[in-house]
């Protein structure tokens, strides 16, 4: 064993490796992404790892491996679980042979997600057991237990960290590689009565799943991960307790230092719920405050148990207004709730109002090629009746002023369905769907097939920056790299589109503004489905060593560059435009717009569209 300072996600990856995982796959999504990346960095020879094209395929890959007796880990964020839910729901009925751990990272807040859905509720829906870690150290232990449990009961098992667990750091005691379990899969054994799902199999499986989950409630009541932290002598007469799960446990334990220790139930397996342990906890308590994020899962379970066992304990939490129903908890919100709960409410905060603070919505980076792509389409379609359907990725940020080029954003790949639907309803509207390269492969292909076959009319804009940028630059089928360090043939977006039957497919460099506008104009009014692929690499990955500078003699202060493109490197001082050298990447877009040619970029850009260079400078914080 040795100690390492690890991010929660890194600890989960090392835990899986220590458990002898054979296959790891997933699709990137904040806050889950670093799990798979760490496996790729730290894996031994025999471990297969890939970024799959989407979560559904990843889940099926992991299921297949587990059929063959391999230990498999599949990783995604909570939105990805929606994509993977079809295979997962069925896998629970079919069961597994090798351990299958489904890592789903939830995002209270939400900080970088579309929903605040709770995978603990999904666990109850899918009947899949779930571990809910409160720290990196616990996550390291739980992933190993999850593999054991999965094999013992032949079921997939969830591990569900939240953002603060996934992205928190701590010193964790981890095994040395020599101490790792070696797990040798038996291989797939043909047995159609086991691996082919039919209604009869599902009927029998359903009965067994319910019996198993009842048995698991007892198992989990004995598991020290579910435990009662005793009250101190001062708190005992209050006859009050706290039930807590996930990262909020750290808030409760910190608050105990200040407020005294109430009896505390730490719930690490919210499904199946550790019923006996919870009843033991409730015994002799008049009131319990449930502290959790997202759904009131623990709260509902305790209310149910009070009914089932005729207990008089009053259960408080989200449904009674003591804990907020949405958003994250915090050190301060939990301390305040606990203080009020024990009848010693904190004094109201002294409300001194600071001067108004700047609002900082996230923006596209300086030099981001997406900015140029959006601007080209905006210019080409000026004055027309249009709709611009956006999608999930950095380019959602094209919604910000002054670009204002995202009219809809729903979920991965949805822009294509929305754009074609709107055109069926409004023939005079020119409909556009913008999709990134990684999202194109993950979830846009059925939308293109649907549009071509059903005679839809819209323009597909593929924003190809040769990476999965928002989640931190993962490879995808268009990049020519795999997580097994292979250099492979790229899958061509142009060929896919032409193969489906899109006849008008144009590829253009968005940083060549005039040409980009001309291309969009020439294609937008063609009938049927047509596509423009804007291809230029992500600036955070391929940083050109170029800089724009403003000649103050020539700058007339018209602010056209600032008004039109909203680049964060541009500001206006003393009647002139200024370029922040720390942010500028010399993309040249502002120089192309300047009506008096006051902006010069040195050195001039290479025709290849930038020079791959090392962006890991001292202050450089890769996004």
């Amino acid at each position: 064993m040795h100690s390492e300072f690890l991010m929660g996600n890194e600890a989960i990856a090392l835990g899986a490796l220590a458990a002898g995982v054979n296959l790891v796959c997933g699709y990137p999504g904040t806050p889950s992404t670093e799990v798979l990346e760490t496996v790729a960095k730290r894996r031994g020879e025999g471990v297969y790892v890939e970024w799959s094209v989407n979560e559904k395929v990843a889940m099926e890959m992991a299921g297949g491996a587990a059929y063959a007796g391999a230990r498999a880990l599949v990783t995604m964020k909570q939105m990805g679980l929606n994509v993977a839910s079809d295979p997962l729901m069925c896998l629970e009925y079919i069961g597994v042979k090798g351990g299958l751990v489904v890592l789903v990272a939830d995002d209270p807040g939400p900080i970088s997600s579309q929903t605040e859905q709770d995978t603990r509720s999904f666990a109850a829906f899918s009947k899949v057991p779930l571990f809910d870690p409160s720290s990196a150290e616990e996550a390291y232990q739980m992933v190993q237990e999850a593999f054991e449990l999965s094999e013992k009961y032949q079921t997939p098992v969830f591990l569900r960290p939240t953002t603060r667990v996934s992205h928190g750091y701590a010193s964790v005691r981890v095994k040395d590689p020599e101490e790792y379990t070696v797990h040798i899969p038996e291989g797939f054994v043909r047995d159609s009565s086991r691996w082919v799902i039919f209604p009869r199999l599902s009927f029998n499986a359903h009965r067994k799943i319910e019996e198993r989950n009842e048995a698991l409630q007892d198992d989990f009541s004995e598991n020290p991960l579910n435990r009662i932290e005793p009250e101190d002598a001062a708190a005992a007469p209050l006859r009050k307790g706290v039930a807590v799960g996930g990262f909020s446990y750290t808030y409760v334990m910190e608050a105990r230092k200040k407020l005294g220790a109430l009896r505390t139930l730490k719930v690490s397996t919210p499904f199946p719920f550790p019923e006996k342990k919870a009843v033991e906890f409730l015994s002799g308590l008049d009131e319990v405050l449930c502290v959790e994020e997202l759904d009131p899962v623990i709260e509902r379970e305790l209310i149910y148990l009070c009914g089932k066992y005729g207990l008089k304990t009053k259960i408080l939490g989200k449904m009674t207004g003591q804990i907020p129903r949405s958003g994250e908890n915090s050190r301060d919100s939990v301390t305040a709730a606990l203080a009020a709960f024990i009848g010693r409410p904190l004094p109201p905060e002294e409300a001194e109002t600071p001067p108004p603070l700047p609002v900082r919505p996230p923006v596209l980076c300086a030099g981001c090629p997406h900015r140029a792509s959006f601007y080209a389409v905006k210019q080409a379609m000026k004055g027309r009746k249009t709709v611009f359907c956006g999608d999930i990725g950095c380019y959602t940020l094209g919604n910000a002023m002054p670009l204002d080029m995202v009219d809809t954003c729903l979920c991965m790949g949805a822009g294509l369905g929305i754009a074609q639907s709107l055109n069926h309803l409004e023939k005079d509207r020119s409909c556009f769907a913008f999709v990134g390269d990684s999202t194109f492969f993950a979830s846009a292909l059925p939308g293109v097939v649907n549009a071509v076959y059903n005679q839809a009319e819209f323009t597909l804009i593929v924003l190809d920056n040769s990476t999965t940028a928002m989640t931190g630059h993962q490879p995808h089928p268009g990049t020519g790299k795999t997580m097994m360090n292979q250099v492979v043939e790229k899958i061509s977006i142009e060929n896919i589109l032409r193969g489906i039957g899109v006849t008008a497919v144009e590829t253009v460099d968005p940083l060549d503004h005039a040409h980009a506008v001309e291309t969009v104009r020439s294609i937008a009014d063609l009938p049927g489905v047509k596509a423009v692929i804007f291809r230029s690499p992500c600036v955070a990955l391929f940083r050109a060593e170029a800089q724009a500078t403003v000649d103050p003699e020539k700058c007339i202060g018209c602010k056209k560059c600032i008004r039109e493109i909203g680049c964060p490197a541009l500001s206006f001082r003393d009647g002139k435009v200024h370029v922040d050298p720390a942010q500028c990447n010399g993309c040249t877009l502002c120089a192309q717009l300047c009506p008096v040619k006051a902006i010069e970029v040195t050195p001039p850009p290479t025709p290849a569209g930038g020079n791959p260079s090392d962006s890991a400078t001292a202050g450089g914080n890769k996004a």
């Binding site: 100690s3 919505p361 202050g619």
Partner: protein, 192 residues
């Protein structure tokens, strides 16, 4: 020794690396340390923060710092310093860069955001305030990208980190590519 440290700024300024250097230096001295940072969409020009907690005399459960609990706030931007001020202890130290990062909205129309207003507010509310003239420091050190090390250096000299310069230099050696060592050392040891 217990230190609760908040680093705050605007996505892309290098707060994450600075917090990792502090954590790495503490780990090397066997000081238990927890930290948490902003990752994801906010990194694209949004408000970001890192919390670093280290203690040799109490068990730390949460990497997050409560209001009024920070011994030190290292602010990479004056407005972000004001935003995080409620977390500072009454006798806590604040190290702040004087240089504002204007939100993109400010370039479109004047939002009224001024660094001077923020710095005035800080001087009247923070007893132990160190203002770093970032413009000048970056020019003197000769790179626009080392604000994080300049601010860490100022915190060291205010004796607010609970760590020594040598600890951070070692952390730089462990965490940053060799070709940047000299520049980072220069920034860390820069004095106006």
């Amino acid at each position: 020794m217990t230190k609760n440290i908040i680093l705050c700024g605007v996505g892309g300024q290098g707060t994450v690396l600075a917090s990792r250097l502090i954590s790495s230096a503490a780990m090397a001295r066997d000081i238990p340390v927890l930290s948490a940072e902003t990752i994801g969409m906010a990194q694209r020009g949004g408000s970001v923060f890192s919390h670093v907690r280290m203690s040799t005399d109490e068990v730390l459960y949460s990497p997050m710092i409560a209001k009024g609990e920070a011994d030190l706030i290292i602010a990479f931007e004056p407005g972000e310093a004001v935003r995080q001020l409620p977390f500072l202890k009454p006798d806590g130290r604040m190290v702040v860069s004087s240089r504002p990062v204007m939100p993109v909205t400010a370039a479109l129309s004047d939002t009224g955001y001024r660094a001077e207003t923020m710095l005035d507010y800080l001087s009247s509310h923070v007893a132990r305030l160190t203002v770093v003239d970032a413009e000048r420091a970056l020019k003197d050190v000769g790179s626009p990208k080392v604000l994080n090390l300049i601010l860490l250096g100022a915190a060291l000299r205010a004796d607010a980190l609970g760590l020594e310069t040598a600890d951070l230099k070692e952390a730089i050696r462990r965490n940053i590519k060799e070709k940047f060592h000299a520049l980072n050392f220069r920034a860390l040891e820069y004095e106006p």
